[in-house]
């Protein structure tokens, strides 16, 4: 599996766990799917949980200065951010 595929699979599973999406809805997320402001479950506590779980599951460290609203606008943005962090 390429880095992109691994990060993508991890991120979908993580969002399914935190947002209770179920496998089907998680698999149906596209780059344009809206997250924060779009999914009612995605509140500030969920944002915090997603960030900490990303650190644990992807083996990265996220400096909160890097986190802006844009990252959580769409699934594509979040995936780009995660992949950038994993590649260092």
């Amino acid at each position: 599996m390429s880095v992109t595929d691994t990060v993508d699979a991890n991120l979908r599973a993580l969002l399914a766990d935190v947002l209770g999406l179920g496998e089907d809805r998680a698999a149906a997320l596209t780059a344009d799917s809206g997250l924060f402001g779009e999914l009612p479950e995605f509140d500030s506590m969920a944002v915090a949980t997603v960030l900490t779980e990303m650190e644990d599951r992807l083996g990265i460290l996220i400096d909160d200065d890097e986190v802006d609203g844009e990252i959580f606008e769409t699934y594509g943005n979040l995936l780009d951010f995660a992949e950038r962090k994993v590649r260092g």
Binding site: A16, D17, V18, L19, G20, E41, F42, D43, S44, M45, A46, V47, A48, T49, L51, T52, E53, E55, D56, D64, D65, G69
Partner: protein
């Protein structure tokens, strides 16, 4: 102050008592339904099952600001002392950070979390909520403030002692111990990490898997 202790007992004398140590803060609410289902499944197999309120959590009348991990450890040790017969301590997530002071015949831990990781999520939730409210705050700034004042993190007012203890807390070695994680693989508890869910859910199949795994672990430790 005495705290409430939810107890389910089998019809006859219990073969063994399982003392559940719930996850901490919001994660406790997200898992309570499923834990109670697991307790019912255990009672049906002849176990007594206990789910205590930690001081400052759930229905407790103690203000959370007066609680810290040390107090929670002693509270659990006291509950364990009052149990007659064999005892298994079954902890989840942050509960695994406070379960080692209880004298038990065996321990069981589901998805242990480090205190630092729990604290980081709480600090992040505060920073994220502050940002929505147009207030600039940072994890570092909050941590510095926490040395001398209480912090309100995701609805939890935590004392400097609590923040310091949480930031440093790691699971401690106990013996005999079985540690499990949720998942679909062998040796895993069939289910998903309900404690992460933004909207609390429940999972009856996971509750049965928890009870079955505890019953097996109890037998393999010779606790019966």
């Amino acid at each position: 102050m005495d705290e409430q202790l939810f107890r389910l007992s089998p019809a006859g004398a219990p073969r063994t008592t399982v003392l559940f140590v719930p996850p901490l803060f919001e994660e406790a609410n997200r898992t309570r339904r499923t834990l109670v289902l697991a307790m019912r499944a255990l009672a049906a197999q002849g176990f007594a099952a206990l789910l205590p309120d930690l001081p400052g959590q759930n229905e407790s009348l103690v203000p959370l600001i007066e609680a810290d991990l040390e107090r929670w450890r002693s509270a659990l040790a006291e509950i364990a002392r009052d149990v007659d017969g064999p005892l298994i301590v079954a902890s989840l997530r942050g509960g695994c950070l406070i379960d080692h002071g209880a004298a038990a015949d065996a321990w069981w831990r589901l998805a242990p979390a480090s205190g630092a990781s729990l604290l980081r999520t709480l600090l992040r939730a505060r920073v994220s909520a502050d940002r929505e409210a147009g207030i600039a705050s940072s994890i570092e700034g909050l941590q510095t403030a926490a040395a001398s004042e209480a912090l309100l993190l995701a609805g939890n007012r935590l004392s400097p002692a609590m923040v310091a203890q949480l930031g440093a807390a790691e699971v401690q070695a106990v013996e005999p111990l079985r540690t499990v994680t949720p998942g679909g693989g062998e040796g895993q508890i069939a289910g998903t990490p309900l404690w992460l869910r933004a909207e609390p859910g429940e999972d009856a199949a996971m509750a049965r898997a928890i009870a079955a795994d505890l019953a097996l672990w109890s037998r393999s430790c010779g606790v019966i």
